[in-house]
């Protein structure tokens, strides 16, 4: 995964549910990219969708980036904090793209009220859809760590394997991105993810 060295742009799509910490994840990755000397653009969703809606953030980096948006079929990485959201944006992924999914379900209101069903075989659907799939017990690991909100950083830890940035860069960026009292726990979360595989 070092194609960015020959000038090609790398595309990362983050998906999840409003309130899950997608924007923080996007900021951490984008800053790690910048500190590692690449051009980077990202796009974040604010406003109405943050009220429990489906949310995406997009990050693109390389030698020179124009569009902040990823086109369909071109994402190198899809990071999903919720399983249904991984499938929802599957058409953005390129054929051999890598998928990192939080093993976590949040039912949309349509499911909660019985109008539609959360796919019972969602894990199988993901296995069939994605050729490079990591399902990570992010929420459980984060709970064990002491803060359920750090599952986003655990996933970033696993993503960091695929990206050519130094570990110190990641750690520094995480420290800069969260409030002081959450620094240590987020660094630990990153290390848990990074040690996976």
């Amino acid at each position: 995964m070092c194609k960015q060295d020959n000038g090609e742009t790398v595309n990362i799509l983050l998906a999840g549910v409003g309130g899950q910490g997608i924007i923080l994840a996007s900021t951490i990755i984008s800053m790690a990219v910048m500190e590692s000397g690449y051009d980077v653009k990202n796009n974040e969703v604010h406003g109405m969708a943050q009220r429990g809606g489906s949310v995406v953030c997009q990050i693109r980096f390389g030698k020179k980036v124009f569009s902040p948006l990823i086109k369909k079929g071109s994402a190198d990485f899809l990071i999903a904090l919720e399983k249904l959201e991984a499938l929802r944006y599957a058409d953005y992924l390129k054929k051999d793209g890598v998928v990192i999914v939080n093993n976590f379900k949040i039912s949309p209101l349509t499911v909660l009220t019985g109008q539609s069903q959360y796919p019972a075989n969602i894990d199988e659907m993901m296995e069939e859809t994605f050729s490079h799939l990591h399902i990570v017990d992010g929420v459980k690991l984060a709970q064990d760590l002491g803060d359920v909100r750090t599952s986003n950083v655990i996933l970033i830890g696993l993503l960091s394997h695929y990206l050519p940035f130094k570990k110190e860069v990641w750690i520094n960026v995480i420290k800069k991105s969260v409030k002081e009292k959450f620094r240590d726990i987020n660094v630990k979360a990153f290390e848990i993810g990074r040690e996976m595989k």
Binding site: H46, G47, R51, F66, P68, L87, S116, T129
Partner: protein
């Protein structure tokens, strides 16, 4: 500092640009996608900043500050510029002293808005120069250019962003602050500042002279540039569309417009003469396209580029195929997936709006709505909102129905919305002997746009203490006698109060008392639970539409409901709705 770079969103970059250009006065009203500009400006030294009660007030305040010599920035979303359009249309006549930049953020595709108007139209309408950045670096730089143009040509400048500019981050080179050279002083000059008809007629002629000079500028300014490449295809574009187009047409020639009004006619003619085929790529209205055509230049535009919704690389690739006359083959996706359950935004678990809309549904009345989180009560299962037009209409449109004899109706709007433009609507009801029932959903913040302060919170944008304005006292001062408070978490009481006020033939105002649940922090919550032995699976609780309640199949046909204790805030609305008292607290 000189080589310092930062990763900034368009909004953060605009705030930085205001700081670097010596801006002293900043005002605005929150609205997605513009809100973070002012929220970031607050952190810079040397700038007075305020959340104004609405955009009209913001622009008028900035006009005064500018006339006294301050450099000013005003921020708002696209529909906010409609509110501010009154001062906007006359300010170009009067002009400025300190530079004045009006930042307007459009929302193509209506991610978080009620319409997708193309605010570029205002530039031509009001006769003001228009700047359109295409990334964060330009967003910062164009504020400074805007201030310079404003001061040099004695005119306000519109800087237009869009959702994808405002909420995309990019690397920005920082600069240092250049202080405003003007002394704060207002010089008496009625021919410049007083728009009585005799003087305004003279200003009107002068405005055309300003535009004439600006036309010269727009043809030579550095931010309008020709990028020559292969001359078979020339693309005229600006804003975010430029970035998409560069991606799709790496070999084409470009005329990239950073200043798109006044139209740079000479530059357009020159570019058109250099290339074989000319295409305009612009989001929303065909503004550039129609103008270019009016110059007698052959151009392709909306034949291949949609005029509804935002653009992206996929759409422009499709346009490329259309241009080449090739057949459009639907791109293969990984694998055809079954339809997934949709995930629209919802009222948060524990939201105080839930109780009032549940009670309103029981009342079986029409509900005239407004702009805010409560617009989410439109969707099932609450389905309690029957109209949304614009801020303030929650009161005035209700009044209109009442006056023509439709009485089974209430108006609802939020607290920030009430201060923004509901106050005048309520005054109109009082003055014109209306009998409407108006519900003010006072959750003590501007929730949807990210919890900004307003006159009812008792705090300024800088979190400083200020007067705490009471909505009830305002209503009473307007002469409305029936003003009642209600706790929306108490469903029965809420229903009772609603019933009484709807049947009254006097105007009445009902004010909810509970704050936005997202602002209730640090309070220990005790979630509810459902006693599975008592639950009969009737589904009554599901009708409140709370994301913490889930219908669960227990056998083939029988189901019951479970509570997600992580999400539940223990608001107890579902407990009150349960017919068999199966929902409890420990």
């Amino acid at each position: 500092m000189k080589n310092q770079k930062e990763l900034l969103s368009g909004n953060e970059a605009i705030a930085r640009g205001a700081y670097e250009s010596g801006v002293n006065f900043a005002a605005g009203y929150p609205g997605t996608p513009s809100s973070e500009i002012l929220e970031n400006i607050v952190n810079y030294p040397g700038i007075y900043a305020e959340w104004s009660v609405n955009e009209k007030v913001a622009l008028e305040s900035a006009a005064g500050a500018s006339w006294a010599g301050a450099r000013c920035i005003v921020t708002m979303k696209h529909v906010g510029l409609n509110v501010a359009s009154d001062p906007l249309m006359t300010l170009p006549y009067v002009g400025v002293k300190g530079g004045l930049v009006i930042v307007v953020a459009d929302d193509p595709s209506m991610h978080s808005s009620q319409n997708e108007q193309d605010s570029r139209n205002y530039a031509k309408f009001a006769k003001v120069p228009l700047l359109e950045p295409s990334d964060s670096q330009e967003a910062k730089d164009f504020v400074k250019i805007g201030i310079e143009i404003s001061e040099k040509y004695d005119i306000p400048v519109i800087l237009r962003s869009t959702t994808r500019i405002s909420h995309s981050k990019g690397i920005v080179k920082l600069g240092t602050r250049e202080e405003n050279p003007h002394k704060i002083h207002f010089e008496k000059n009625p021919q410049k500042y007083v728009t009585v008809p005799a003087y305004a007629r003279v200003m009107r002629v002068k405005l055309e002279e300003k535009i004439k000079k600006l036309k010269k500028l727009t043809n030579r300014i550095g931010i309008n540039k020709i990028i020559l490449n292969n001359k078979r295809l020339g693309i005229i574009t600006g804003s975010i569309s430029y970035q998409y187009a560069r991606e799709v047409f790496p070999d084409a020639s470009f005329l990239k417009l950073g200043m798109s009004y006044p139209f740079p006619d000479e530059l357009i003619r020159k570019f058109a003469s250099l290339v074989k085929k000319l295409v305009v790529i612009e989001e929303l209205d065909p503004i550039l396209e129609e103008h270019i055509r009016s110059l007698g230049i052959k151009v392709i535009g909306k034949e291949v580029i949609p005029d509804i919704g935002e653009l992206n690389v996929d759409i422009i690739e499709e346009a490329k195929l259309k241009l080449s006359g090739k057949k459009i083959v639907k791109k293969k996706v990984l694998k055809k997936l079954p339809d997934l359950p949709k995930r629209p935004p919802v009222l948060c678990p524990g939201c105080p709006h839930r109780g009032i809309f549940y009670a309103l549904k029981k009342c079986n009345v029409s509900v005239v709505g407004d702009i805010g989180c409560y617009s989410l009560a439109t969707y099932p299962p609450l389905e309690s909102l029957d109209s949304i037009l614009c801020m303030g209409a929650g009161i005035s449109a209700c009044h209109g129905m009442d006056k023509v004899g439709y009485k089974n109706v209430v108006g609802v709007l939020g607290d920030s919305t009430f201060f923004h433009s509901g106050m005048t609507s309520l005054l109109d009801i009082a003055y014109n002997k209306g009998a409407s029932t108006i519900i003010i959903l006072d959750n003590k913040t501007t929730a949807m746009t990210g919890h900004q302060h307003h006159p009812g919170t008792g705090k300024t944008i800088k979190d400083e203490e200020t007067v705490h304005i009471s909505i009830g006292e305002i209503a009473r001062a307007f002469g409305i006698k029936r003003v009642r408070e209600v706790n929306p978490y108490n469903v029965e009481e809420t229903y009772k109060v609603l019933k009484e006020e709807i049947s009254s033939d006097e105007p009445s105002v009902i004010i909810t008392t509970e704050p936005c649940i997202l602002n209730v922090r640090g309070v220990e919550v005790e979630p509810c639970y459902i006693d599975a032995d008592l639950c009969v699976g009737c589904g009554a609780c599901l009708k409140v539409g709370c994301p913490a309640l889930e219908k669960v199949l227990i056998t083939d046909k029988k189901f019951n409901v479970q509570i997600n204790t992580v999400l539940c805030t223990g608001c107890e609305i579902c407990c009150q709705v349960c017919k068999v008292n199966a929902i409890k607290k420990e």
